[in-house]
């Protein structure tokens, strides 16, 4: 059963030099206890896409499409109603736990705030719950740490605080936006472990945003590959890693030496050029300019997501059929 169902999401951001179409008709869904990874290079719209689900995106962004949660389209809900969903039903974890925490407030207080907002608890109950949550995410000396300020904690501890804040009200969906990017490799692994563990214990759905194929291989059940605001390939983790059909997905994977082991962060070394900035939706494949096999058909029509031979769904007119061997 799908907990969150995103249909045809588009986000248009006005800038000084005209507007940018950051997300262009993106659809995906995530089920209970499922971890969905949305992967892509920086600037491909993956972050803006998830922030816009609950109105946390850029100030004047125009968001269209449908975000279905618990039988309602969140995009049409009033700000007040949306606020009740935030933190309670759908929670976020952000990239840099240093800047994402208020430097002037003890971390325990910051977690308490979520509880005060959504749960009817007394002060003492909230405090007890914070300690419980801290212990759940593996913060040692929890009661004492709750009184610390963000600058007194290490990066990994701060991210644990962020996670405990996110899960405080037992959300059904956890959106983690590059949760490990700002952390050391060893700490990264620990944080991913915690996320998996929480998924198992609490049964939440997790939408994980990352540019790191290694992280995807580590934790995700399913993956959506984004390019220039669009989903270009989607499928189960096994299929995408074994038989990626889109040339771009292949390029992303070629930057990771061996699937399943995060030896290095994924970098697009194999693909010349950069992600284009899109002003409006075009009737063409946005990858065509960087693709070796692009032809007239690619440039004159937007390829739909369709079943590929390897079991993934791909938006490509000339999908790869061979099995990937890391090249």
């Amino acid at each position: 059963m799908n907990v969150l169902d995103v249909r045809d999401l588009s986000v248009e951001i006005p800038t000084e030099t005209g507007h940018v179409l950051a997300v262009d008709g993106l659809s995906y869904s995530v089920g209970e206890s499922e971890i969905l990874a949305i992967v892509g290079e920086s600037g491909c719209g993956k972050s803006v896409g998830v922030l816009s689900l609950l109105g946390l995106g850029p100030e004047h962004a125009r968001v269209t499409g449908e975000v279905n949660y618990a039988g309602q389209n969140l995009l049409t809900r009033k700000p007040d109603a949306l606020r009740r969903v935030r933190g309670q039903d759908i929670a976020y974890i952000f990239q840099d736990p240093m800047t994402a925490l208020n430097p002037l407030m003890p971390v325990g207080k910051q977690v308490e705030e979520v509880l005060a907002q959504h749960a009817s608890m007394s002060r003492a109950e909230r405090r007890a719950r914070v300690v419980e949550l801290f212990e759940l995410v593996g913060i040692p000396a929890a009661a004492e740490r709750a009184r610390a300020y963000p600058h007194q904690l290490s990066g990994g501890m701060r991210q644990r605080v962020m996670i405990s804040m996110a899960i405080a009200c037992g959300p059904r969906v956890l959106i983690a936006d590059e949760p490990t990017t700002a952390l050391d490799v060893t700490v990264q692994a620990a944080i991913l472990e915690i996320l998996k563990d929480l998924r198992d214990k609490l049964g939440m759905a997790i939408v994980l945003i990352t540019h790191d194929m290694g992280v995807v291989a580590d934790i995700a059940d399913r993956v959506v590959v984004m390019y220039a605001g669009r989903a270009i390939e989607e499928g189960g983790i096994e299929q995408v890693f074994r038989r990626p059909a889109h040339p771009y997905t292949r390029g992303l994977l070629s930057a990771v030496p061996v699937p399943g082991q995060r030896a290095a962060r994924a970098r697009l070394r194999g693909i010349p050029g950069t992600v284009p900035v899109i002003a409006e939706s075009v009737d063409a494949c946005t990858f065509a300019d960087r693709c070796g096999r692009a032809d007239e058909a690619c440039r004159s029509g937007r390829p739909p997501l369709a079943e590929a031979a390897g079991g993934t769904r791909v938006a490509c007119r000339h999908p790869e059929t061979k099995e990937s061997n890391g090249e």
């Binding site: 800038t15 920086s42 050029g273 992600v275 284009p276 900035v277 899109i278 002003a279 063409a284």
Partner: protein
Amino acid sequence: MTVTTAGTARPARSRARSTGALAVFRRALRSPAGLAGFVIAVVVVAAGLLAPWLSPMAPEATDYANPLSGPSGLHLLGTDELGRDQLSRVLYGINASVLVGLASVVLAALVGVPLGLVAGYFPKVDRVISQLVDVMLAFPNLILAVGLAAILGPSAMNAAIALAVGAVPGFVRLIRGEVLRLRGLDFVSSAIAAGNTHTRILWRHILPNATSTLLVQISVAIPHAILGEAMLSFLGLGIRPPTPSLGIMLAGAQQYIETAWWLAVFPGLAIVALTLAFNLFGDALRDALDPKGRRR
């Protein structure tokens, strides 16, 4: 096809802003407020500088037939207690304000910039200079200017000097900060590594990169100086009568405020126009240099 294949992934990052003084100046003129400020400043300053030609009458000429008369065809802005033409006096007053204001800022920059350069570059000298600056900052600006003006005696030049001294710490601190920032950058490190002399590094590598910031500081200091001159003259510590000065005119107007409102209103409006114009332009300059205003 509207796939704009920009050089980098994000438009905001690709458009690196030039921070050269000229580019900043041009950008400031592109904002409506900056342009308005610039135009008003040019008009008011020109009116002041051209006072000898624009004034309908000599500023000291008395018209005993019409003392304290309100605005009329003969005297557009009315006359004071001696029957002197207010419009002429306001124009000459602007002239004096602008000259004293500019002179004090130039003076402050001439003293403050070298001190700031040295302080930022040589840590040992910095201790002395920074302590001196601290002492100067121990006196509220106007108190310092009032004290100095009292020591030096009232005159336009002395008012400029007194105001300049008060403005020096601002320049020292700013330039010092810029030097400290620039020193850490690669091009300066490589210039040092290449064996350039200290003077050369300061003048050829560091100062040119600080000009925009300096420009902004100057644009902020000018309206301060103009207000300062008006205050000193108002207190009788600035320009000496009978030379027309907006501050002195306002001081004199206090006595007649119940009967001759025009004496109090017009010189004040002139100060406001002058200061506002420089403030508008200064703000635009600062925004042009640093769009988010994070430096201050």
